[in-house]
Symmetry: C2
Subunit: 202 residues, 2 copies
């Protein structure tokens, strides 16, 4: 998973622009530094000077772009935890759900993702509301179900898919209830289709 | 929101004992102060001096008994979120599960419980492991299922009860996915029994 960090940029004091090659490289280096430090020491030990040192950038650049540590962690969480591709569209509900569940499982079970997820839930204690990447995952699920319904497939409701597929997957990760492996997600998808499409088990 | 703090105790420097009337009163006052302050301002704004002032006790007593703020919050979380009575034992699985689910729902959906739950998950970012009150709730569920099995009732596995009853209930609370009402928990119990006891829906 982790590649070697790139060499520090030649001019760390150069102003950071919002777009463009150098700016994107700084952003990527800072995000990578955050996830590495979280994986090593936990989110509570991360500081902006430590992140800047690891990324090889000037701390001032980090403060200017992200404001404070919570802003930086929120940005990293929304980038790392949000789906980075469109929802699967294979032509059948079962295959779409299996791919969605496996991608979600793989994305949220790395040590960095677990730590970011828990940290962002801790932040919710003072800033209530659904976290954006959850909303994005739920939106993907909604798209998959709507397409299946349009094709005329027996389709569970979104509430059922959230309660019986998304919830158990995240619950195990958030509360550290042991590993979540591909077989678990397959079983959840099969149970969802088996029990919530109005068909009697055969 | 803010009520006047009660008058300070007559002898704030009196040693705090682990048991007994005065010690229990101090403990209850401090716990109440923590939950009130969390409900008003969120867990991140709570400080030991603020808690002590609200509870009308000397901050030294709080530091001596709980060590630091995380120790205090962890104690309050484990007291407030743990089940405070034995699991229901009504003689039928469905009624036991309905009572367990409704008690759990009622316990974890107050604003203080939501905030404590999210805060303790945020702490997990650095201290992995199942939180004790989750383990206690899961243990209650296990007891209910074992009794039903001993009576010869068709009974879902513990994994199924955790995935399809406990997980959706907590997931909605933890991620703030809107209200969770008694009708939701009844539907989850009915679905669990309907789908995971080897009986075809009738």
């Amino acid at each position: 998973m982790n590649s070697q960090p790139p060499a520090p940029p030649a001019h760390p004091a150069e102003p950071v622009r919002r777009t463009g090659g150098r700016s994107a490289r700084v952003c990527a280096a800072v995000h990578r530094a955050v996830t590495e430090l979280i994986a090593e020491n936990g989110a509570e030990q991360v500081t902006i000077p430590a992140v800047a040192a690891r990324a090889g950038v000037n701390p001032t650049s980090v403060y200017r772009r992200w404001g404070d540590l919570n802003g930086l962690l929120a940005d990293v969480a929304s980038t790392r935890l949000a789906p980075d591709d469109p929802p699967p569209d294979t032509g059948t509900l079962r295959t779409d759900l299996l791919q969605w569940a496996e991608r979600t499982r793989a994305a949220v079970t790395t040590p960095e993702a677990r730590a970011l997820l828990r940290h962002s839930i801790g932040q919710l204690a003072t800033c209530p509301g659904t976290t954006p990447r959850m909303a994005a995952r739920e939106q993907q699920l909604a798209t998959i179900l709507t397409r299946a319904e349009d094709r005329g497939e027996p389709t569970p409701a979104l509430t059922q898919a959230v309660d019986h597929l998304m919830a158990p997957l995240y619950f195990r990760v958030i509360l550290n209830l042991g590993p979540v492996d591909p077989a678990d997600t397959r079983r959840l998808v099969d149970d969802l289709l088996h029990h919530h499409t109005g068909r009697c088990p055969t």
